[in-house]
């Protein structure tokens, strides 16, 4: 028995929603990163789903790009978080509001 496409999509939407909710509500930079990863992977899931369904290799190719970019982003981002943590002993993004207008 095959699992219907809509299940994958619903799962991806739920994952994306959880991620977005996390980004909007959590203060810790680390958690926000995890949530962003969640959102990215939710998108990846949709790409793969449609690639399979439509027999189009383009979607899967894009996923690889996204993974590479996400890895790079995490590296840089975590580097920043570590640097900030060293200075302030906190990873709360709400405290990092010096660049306000």
């Amino acid at each position: 028995m095959t699992i219907p496409v809509s299940w994958y999509l619903v799962l991806a939407a739920v994952l994306f929603g959880i991620g977005a909710f996390g980004v909007l509500t959590r203060r810790s930079a680390l958690i926000m990163f995890m949530c962003i990863e969640l959102m990215l992977n939710a998108v990846n899931l949709t790409f793969v789903t449609f690639a399979r369904t439509l027999s189009d290799i383009g979607g899967q190719t894009t996923v690889f790009f996204i993974m590479v970019v996400a890895a790079a982003e995490v590296t840089v981002g975590l580097g920043i978080v570590v640097a900030v943590f060293r200075r302030r002993a906190s990873t709360s993004v709400d405290e990092l509001s010096e660049l306000q207008g």
């Binding site: 977005a20 980004v23 909007l24 509500t25 203060r27 926000m32 993004v93 709400d94 990092l96 509001s97 010096e98 660049l99 306000q100 207008g101």
Partner: protein, 623 residues
């Protein structure tokens, strides 16, 4: 071919460049030698070209150096036109300039800006020669402007003095007004004849309608009034006395002020087309001669008297041009160059001997102290007063005879001016050289000293020229006169009214009588007094209130306009608009910057909301 002619104008330029590049290495002596030598050689070149021209059947030689520029049909070469008129101008311009340069080497000795002075002087002569020799109006305009800017530099040579600085500015601004006239004349001529080459214009005069011709003549007259200091633009010349005395001599005798008259004479074929234009010229000239002479009677500064005297004499020249007596105008110009250079350099020698004093009320009795300046000045005085047999008698007589033939009222004005001329020059002479010695306070009770030989030698030469200058154009020497030599250049020679010898003699007697009356009046009035309340009318002394009138008519209204512009237009319109725009941008920025809170989660929320809106919109469109 007359290939020497370009050197007349190139040599002073070479002198200028040498002094410019040579810099301090030349030393004061070297600068003097180079500058004077350059102009001297230029004079030699002028004499050589003159001799070549005399032996040339063709007396209109154009020597093209290079093409300056070509725009569509306008072709402007850097070329010189050698003809009797330009070569006559060159001869006396370079000759007088050489003497003035020589004089300046001593007069300016020890000045801080000695080198700069000679730089300007050489450039001045170069500009004047460019103006005179150019074969087209564009190149003449270059010289015209060059003369203007050099006069500005030289008049405000002592620019640390306020009076000198503003006199320079005044000269420049007045000249600019005249320049507009020359430009307009050029535009009109090019529109109608499609060329600015002199010979081209003259051969195309048939394309000028009477109205256009009159407009051109009036525009040229405006140009001439600016450069030659005629009514209504004459005020700058007396103020130009703020420059060093050799500069005054150069401006008044050789360069600059003769340029306007030269331009009118050069354009004589165009002048021939407009009798109303010529009448205007004659009236302007006659009025200027008279007005300036009245002003000269009341001046206290020795150089100011001479300055107004120049304005008056140039007025005679313009009057002569107006009645078509171009030969007489040039004759007077040449002899005036002799005696006015003599008078200016003589007055410079007087001023030099008194350590810079220019007020005639603090002179007097100088005759016995200045053994060379005194007799030469005496000759200059008699020459300008029109006493025979000196040059002034013949040249002024020539002008007045021609005016008599064409316009009786202007002739009367001319004769009255002649009386005034003799009067104010005698007044100057008496106050300076005769009477009590009133200078002791100025010289700290030292005796005045005669100037060195380099200063007095030019005086002697010029005095000699003033004595014999009349030989250039004696009334009975028809074949060998200046007028005869020049006449091929003039497109239109006024039909010389049949003037019997008796009439000529009668007019000459009138001239002599005029001079005698002036001399007699001056000697009666100024024999004993220094101040005469009745004759030193404030009206004359204040230049007929001419400057005041300009101030009231132009200066003050324009100042008021400027005030309105600066206080109302600038503050309340322009500033308000600019500052209002800036202010509104600033205020909106103040409001919008609050959005930039620095809270990452807010930005994220904004993004989510934005994406949501887009998604909703897209989904809505799909349906």
């Amino acid at each position: 071919m007359n290939s020497l002619a370009p050197f007349i104008m190139i040599l002073p330029l070479l002198g200028f460049v040498t002094v410019l590049v040579g810099g301090r290495r030349l030393g004061e002596r070297g600068v003097g030698i180079v500058a004077t030598g350059a102009v001297g050689l230029s004079f030699v070149a002028a004499v050589a070209s003159f001799v070549v021209l005399l032996h040339d059947a063709n007396r209109e030689v154009t020597v093209t150096l290079f093409t300056w520029f070509t725009v569509d049909t306008l072709h402007v070469p850097a070329a010189v036109l050698v003809d009797p008129l330009s070569i006559t101008m060159c001869l006396f311009v370079t000759g007088i300039s050489t003497l003035i340069h020589l004089y300046s080497t001593a007069y300016m000795a020890g000045e801080k800006d000695y080198r700069k002075f000679f730089l300007y002087l050489n450039l001045f002569v170069f500009s004047m020669l460019t103006l005179v020799l150019a074969n087209n109006l564009v190149l003449t305009f270059v010289g015209w402007e060059g003369v203007g800017v050099c006069s500005y530099w030289l008049v405000s040579f002592y620019f640390d003095r306020d009076a000198a600085a503003s006199a320079g500015k005044k000269a420049f601004v007045y000249n600019r007004v005249g320049d507009i006239g020359l430009l307009i004349a050029m535009f009109l001529l090019f529109t109608h004849t499609h060329t600015l080459n002199y010979l081209g214009v003259f051969s195309a005069t048939s394309m000028l309608s009477p109205t256009v011709a009159t407009l051109v003549v009036l525009a040229l007259l405006l140009a001439a009034t600016g450069k030659s200091a005629q009514i209504p633009l004459f005020n700058w010349l007396p103020d130009a006395m703020e420059g060093p005395t050799p500069v005054s001599a150069l401006i008044h005798a050789a360069t600059m002020v003769t340029a306007g008259v030269y331009l009118l004479v050069r354009m004589s074929p165009v002048l021939a087309l407009s009798s109303s234009g010529r009448l205007t010229i004659a009236i302007i000239g006659g009025l200027t001669a008279f007005v300036a002479a009245t002003i000269a009677t009341a001046q206290k500064d020795i150089k100011k008297v001479l300055a107004f005297s120049t304005v008056s004499q140039i007025g005679y020249m313009v009057l002569a041009v107006g009645v078509g007596a171009y030969g007489a105008a040039i004759f007077l110009m040449v002899s005036h160059a002799f005696f006015k250079a003599l008078l200016f350099l003589g007055s410079g020698s007087v001023i030099h001997s008194l350590g810079g004093e220019q007020d005639m009320r603090r002179m007097g009795g100088l005759a016995r102290w200045l053994p060379l300046t005194f007799p030469t000045f005496l000759i200059g005085w008699l020459t300008i007063s029109g006493v025979p047999p000196f040059a002034g008698f013949w040249s002024k007589g020539d002008v007045l005879t021609n005016v008599f033939a064409h316009n009786k009222p202007l002739w009367v004005l001319g004769v009255v001016t002649a009386v005034l001329t003799a009067y104010y020059m005698s007044r100057l002479f008496i106050l300076t050289f005769r009477g009590h010695e009133r200078f002791r306070e100025v010289t700290h009770h030292h005796d005045p000293h005669e100037s060195p030989l380099v200063m007095t030698a030019p005086l002697v030469i010029l005095a000699g020229l003033s004595v014999v200058g009349g030989l250039l154009d004696l009334p009975w020497a028809h074949g060998f006169s200046l007028t005869h030599f020049l006449s091929p250049t003039f497109g239109f020679v006024a039909p010389t009214a049949v003037q019997s010898t008796a009439l000529q003699t009668g007019l000459a007697i009138v001239d002599i009588a005029a001079a005698a009356i002036g001399l007699f009046a001056a000697f009666t009035i100024w024999r004993s007094t220094v101040e005469s309340a009745t004759f030193e009318k404030a009206f004359f002394e204040r230049v007929w209130r001419w400057d005041d009138a300009y101030d009231a008519l132009l200066g003050r209204p324009l100042t008021r306009v400027a005030h309105v512009s600066s206080e109302v237009v600038e503050d309340r319109v322009i500033d308000a608009a600019v500052e209002g725009l800036g202010g509104s941008v600033r205020r909106s920025g103040e409001g919008i910057r609050k959005l930039q809170s620095g809270l990452v989660r807010q930005y994220a929320l904004a993004m989510v909301l934005g994406v949501t809106v887009i998604v909703v919109y897209l989904v809505g469109r799909v349906r």
